[in-house]
Symmetry: C2
Subunit: 247 residues, 2 copies
């Protein structure tokens, strides 16, 4: 845990916070914090800051927190992902939050099996702690906004423009020649919506519908990657381009 | 399976191959191949090609294979990795082979727990099938060369120059300002040795030893990533740069 994420309702107006449960256990048994020690904290969807340990008692750590004036910038990328199988999705949550995504839009596709939608991995009580784990790893505070759409066509035709109104849209397609760098704006102000298909890829109807809704196909190199590897790979390349662009 | 990997001793001089076991089962029950159908094949550490199905019988598929004149280029990147915990390493094998690495050099570090080396995940009988799974996914044929080094200092001082004699060397360091793109040669001919530390990072002695052996520190952006995510992220960024460079 590189940053302790605090929920807004945990922080008193004075900046005092009383931690119990897993975070307190981690602070006392792994980080072995002592009184007056300072640790990095972050307010969920808000600024980072510093918490000074005021008291450590059985299963409980009291902090006095001071927060930065500004919150970190929200991630620039949103992800439209054909739902992978539950085991893979379970592993992805923390990694996606660590890499930084604004929205995670999960959807159906021809090559997504229907029963993937019936898993508890899609319940907020399952994925929210995993997303927060990823934020604590990456020292970010922006919780990705998750939505699940069982129907692909209404999502793309009716909902996507309100979820992601502007910015560039790209869809990973192993057959495409153009690379991300040739398409994407390097200005860090523009948002990017990245669509990643299921194992086996989008079908032609799905690719066509995406293209008719402003998505541009981008190649992913000569290698065909598994969905989860492709997500991490493309998000990493976009973030690296962003850093190049902001130099 | 996007490519069926064949071991050299499986292919008769005539190009005939008799598959049994898992690959035959995959071809018959998942891909449902029929006689005269063509499938993509690849000779381990050699060229790709096309296999024409000659016969399908119970648990057995016979192919007549023709191979390209040239093998694909070997991956340009080698990876020096502080051994992650067995569960993470087990998941990484196929992903590393799919992303493409020439060598996987596993080593100790202060923040690597000693018992990590005692796992069966480091036995060739465990990891070789996982590496081949990654090659079959990515349609590559180059099996990464794996070596395990329980002592970091002798590895860096004595062995590394013969394992990776030339090319650029970079070590991921969350604190570094310079990005990969500012350091790496874009010429696709140069090799790159990428070092990734354990959870919690290399210690100062380890970083110093790497620096005194030609490694340059590169930042990994403002986010601290888990070892496995960092491996995939940095390899992806290097491969994307390579494609930019070869345009």
């Amino acid at each position: 845990m590189n940053l302790v994420i605090l929920e807004p309702d945990e922080v008193a107006e004075s900046g005092d916070v009383i931690l119990t449960g897993r975070r307190a256990a981690h602070l006392t048994s792994v980080l072995k914090v002592t009184v007056r020690q300072q640790i990095r904290v972050g307010l969920l969807d808000g600024p980072r800051g510093v918490g000074t340990v005021e008291r450590v008692s059985d299963g409980c750590v009291e902090l006095q927190c001071r927060f930065d004036a500004c919150a970190p910038r929200p991630p620039r990328v949103d992800l439209l992902l054909a739902l992978p199988r539950p085991k893979v999705m379970r592993r992805l949550w923390a990694q996606l939050a660590a890499l930084g995504v604004g929205r995670i839009i999960l959807t159906n596709a021809e090559r997504v099996e229907r029963h993937y939608f019936d898993t508890h991995v899609l319940e907020p009580t399952s994925y929210r702690p995993l997303l927060i784990e990823g934020l604590q790893q990456a020292q970010d505070t922006w919780l990705p906004n998750v939505s699940v759409h069982r129907q692909f066509k209404p999502l793309v035709e009716d909902d996507l423009d309100s979820l992601c109104p502007d910015g560039a849209r790209v869809v990973g397609d192993p057959g495409a020649d153009r690379q991300l760098r040739q398409i994407l704006p390097v200005s860090a102000a523009d948002r990017i919506l990245l669509a990643i298909g299921p194992e086996g890829g989008w079908n032609e109807f799905e690719l066509g519908l995406l293209e008719s809704h402003r998505f541009q196909r981008v190649g992913m190199g000569p290698r065909t990657l598994r969905t989860d590897t492709a997500c991490i790979a493309l998000l990493s390349v976009i973030h690296a381009m962003e850093q190049d662009g902001s130099e």
